[in-house]
């Protein structure tokens, strides 16, 4: 049976429609281009990027931060299905977990790419190296991200092997782990926020509202991305995804965006009304500072598209129109990507602690490498989701596709 399963999985991965093959080919090509540029970066060092002492984290860390949010968003499916037993989401919860696996994998790739001496990664291994736990929040992030990766990967593999054998995977054995995955998801994004907000040297980050804002925006961007993917999946595969499941997700996104905008407003009020010297990075982002205004159009784009998306979503009859829903989802994805990527990381460093402004923007090498990481992540997701769907629809294995598991 194991050999049958492996054969079935390999057959699933290598066969597919023209579109599937073109998509996988395209991603592979992007990944290869990215890898080629990685060799250049290893050869020259991080000087090949546009980062410098004044802006010592850039595009890689911005992508990392955004993707931790996407990974955490799997709980938006886990909570309604496993905890509230909302059955329509049962069909897609595994795909959400596969998305989490792909997103955490991308996070880890971005972190390694950002390390100046990545060959020394073993210094982080407890006992062999020195793991500065619990002092360094970065070590907390290493712990929770790896734990979350292993947890989701195990849950997916367990559920798929049960489904393959034609059994239910909602067992007593697995439920404690499912429940644990909820705080685990919250923890990865909280700890990532703590990396920044724990630095009094950077007034832009040093705000307690950063962690809840991270969670709120993550629960918008992740599900927004998934909502679009699920519509593609139900058009191109035999997997049945009910409208009810998508509507429930859209509703969750709506209220998370409301919270996100509220927290942003609190932040804006606090900075502008108190108007201390610490407003400088805030001004750099929103108004431009002493002639440096490269981020201004980006952040206003983000806040405008997020607000439009919120207005679309807040009216149930409009958000149930899939055309409008897809516009809202696209806007949210773009808005949160800007807000949490360049809108969060770059102003943390500008002005620098000594008052210098270095206008950092990634160069083409950083963009190609990042695209390569995204391509690898999407490959992991595409292949994972295809296997998952083949098993769930009974194309391989012994699942009964008509039953909710």
């Amino acid at each position: 049976m194991a050999i049958d399963a492996i054969n079935g999985i390999i057959r699933t991965v290598v066969t597919g429609s023209k579109e599937y093959k073109a998509w996988v080919g395209f991603l592979t090509l992007l990944a290869l281009v990215g890898i080629a540029f990685v060799f250049r970066q290893i050869d020259q060092g991080l000087i090949a990027t546009n980062m410098r002492d004044d802006v010592s984290w850039g595009w890689y860390i911005a992508n990392f931060t955004f993707l931790v949010g996407v990974a955490a968003a799997a709980v938006v499916l886990v909570i309604p299905y496993y905890i509230y037993d909302f059955k329509p989401i049962g069909e897609i919860v595994l795909i959400g977990e596969i998305m989490a696996v792909a997103a955490v994998s991308m996070c880890l790739m971005f972190i390694v790419l950002d390390m100046g001496s990545a060959e020394r990664f073993w210094h982080l291994i407890p006992m062999i190296g020195i793991f500065n736990f619990p002092q360094s929040i970065l070590t907390w992030d290493v712990v929770v991200l790896n734990m979350y990766l292993v947890l989701n990967l195990s849950l997916v593999i367990y559920a798929l092997s049960k489904t393959y054998a034609g059994k239910s995977y909602k067992t007593k054995l697995i439920m404690p782990f499912i429940f644990f995955s909820v705080p685990a998801a919250i923890s990865i994004h909280t700890v990532t926020a703590f990396l920044y907000l724990g630095a009094p040297s950077r007034p832009f980050w040093n705000t307690a509202v950063l962690a809840p804002r991270f969670i709120a925006s993550a629960f918008c961007s992740g599900p927004a991305f998934m909502l679009i993917i699920f519509q593609i999946i139900r058009k191109t595969t035999k997997l049945k995804i009910e409208d009810a499941a998508l509507h429930k997700m859209a509703e969750i996104v709506t209220w998370c965006m409301a919270v996100n905008l509220f927290l942003l407003g609190s932040e804006v009020f606090k900075e502008m009304y108190s108007a201390t010297a610490h407003i400088e990075p805030f001004n750099y982002l929103w108004n431009g500072l002493r002639g440096h205004n490269q981020l201004v159009p980006w952040i206003w784009t983000a806040v405008i598209v997020n607000s439009i998306a919120f207005l679309i979503l807040i009216v149930p009859s409009i958000r149930k129109n899939f055309f409008m829903l897809n516009i809202a989802c696209t806007f949210i994805f773009i808005g949160v990507y800007i807000e949490k990527g360049m809108g969060l990381i770059f102003p943390g460093f500008a002005p620098s602690t000594l008052g210098d402004i270095y206008d950092y923007m990634p160069n083409s090498m950083e963009l190609w490498i990042s695209l390569g990481v995204w391509a690898i992540g999407l490959l992991i997701f595409t292949v994972g989701a295809k296997i998952c769907i083949a098993i769930k629809t009974g194309e391989i294995g012994h699942a009964d596709p008509s039953a909710h598991h």
């Binding site: 950002d114 990664f121 982080l124 190296g129 630095a199 210098d356």
Partner: protein, 313 residues
């Protein structure tokens, strides 16, 4: 460290000596690939500084001397002088005297074998307009002033380097303890242990840490052969470095290079534990302050005005 690796290291040293004798002055790139490979292999698995025993350290320093003597064509002395008893170093800078000439910056670069390209400087001199009330938060500084002559009228200068905090934010955040505070108060980095994550640079409120973004370059003729393992040895691509109060000098009872270079005597350095030291005199007789005191990092780097405001400097 296993005996196996130690054996390799010893044979490497003897072969290196032999080679150095044969091809003195030749470029390091002329080394056979195997030699460089064995060296890189040992470095890849070298343990944290605090975990090296006396023998390991002796071997490593000897190897470093060989390596650098060969590369820079002069006799290098590598030390790992431990902290002195009853010593905590402190620094004070007289802002009423500083003329913004940057001689301290260049002396530091030379003394500490900092890379010229990419350019690394551990001291940054900030220029401010007199009468601008936003100078203590450092928001309105200009680091890139280029007048024909300094000091310029209506300007004053604030040199900033590592403040050697008693509560260093950089040390707390390092995920691998590659940076720590020594008993004499100096915050050091093990350049062979740093993984290059740059979290310390995000955490430092004083911009005191520099990353070696590319392969460092130091002119042979300007190479300073008196080096300390935790201080002025050449750094590697992809690690973080910082001012160590010239650990190679201060632990030998000397002034730092910046103190010696200052033409106006604005820089004071000494042992905070010694009641007769110059630094103690400054602390007891001047009104001193520290940068960003609201962050409570507790620097051992003090600023003061020896001449009252309004006195022409």
């Amino acid at each position: 460290m296993s005996d196996d690796i130690k054996g390799k290291e010893k044979s490497l040293i003897t072969r290196r000596k032999f080679l150095a004798g044969l091809t003195a002055g030749a470029a390091a790139s002329a080394l056979p690939a195997g030699e460089a490979g064995a060296y890189a292999f040992e470095e890849l698995f070298r343990q944290h500084y605090k975990r090296l025993d006396a023998d390991d350290l002796k071997d490593i320093l000897a190897k470093l001397e060989e390596e650098l003597s060969f590369k820079y064509g002069k006799e290098v002395h590598a030390k790992a002088t431990p902290p002195m008893d009853n010593t905590v170093f402190g620094y004070a800078l007289d802002l009423s005297r500083c003329i913004g000439c940057r001689r301290c910056v260049y002396a530091c670069v030379k003394e500490n074998n900092l890379s010229r390209d990419p350019q690394i400087q551990w001291i940054k001199v900030l220029e401010f307009q007199k009468g601008n009330n936003k100078w203590q938060g450092l928001e309105h500084s200009n680091r890139y002033y280029e007048p024909e002559q300094v000091p310029e009228k209506g300007r004053f200068y604030v040199p900033v380097q590592c403040q050697q905090c008693k509560k260093p934010a950089c040390v707390k955040v390092c995920p691998v303890q590659a940076t720590w505070q020594e008993p004499d108060g100096i915050v050091v980095v093990d350049y062979n242990w740093c993984i290059g994550c740059r979290f310390c640079m995000a955490a430092c409120p004083y911009g005191a840490r520099s990353f070696t973004w590319g392969k460092p370059s130091i002119p042979k003729e300007e190479f300073n052969p008196e080096i300390h393992y935790l201080g002025n040895r050449p750094q590697y691509k992809g690690v973080v470095g910082k001012c160590t109060f010239c650990i190679q000098r201060s632990r030998a009872g000397r002034y730092t290079a910046c103190v010696e270079a200052c033409p106006v005597g604005a820089r004071k350095f000494g042992n905070l534990m010694d009641p007769n030291s110059e630094i103690r005199y400054v602390l007891e007789n001047m009104k001193v302050f520290r940068l960003k005191e609201e962050l409570d990092t507790n620097p051992k780097f003090f600023y003061f005005f020896s001449m009252g405001t309004g006195v022409k400097s």
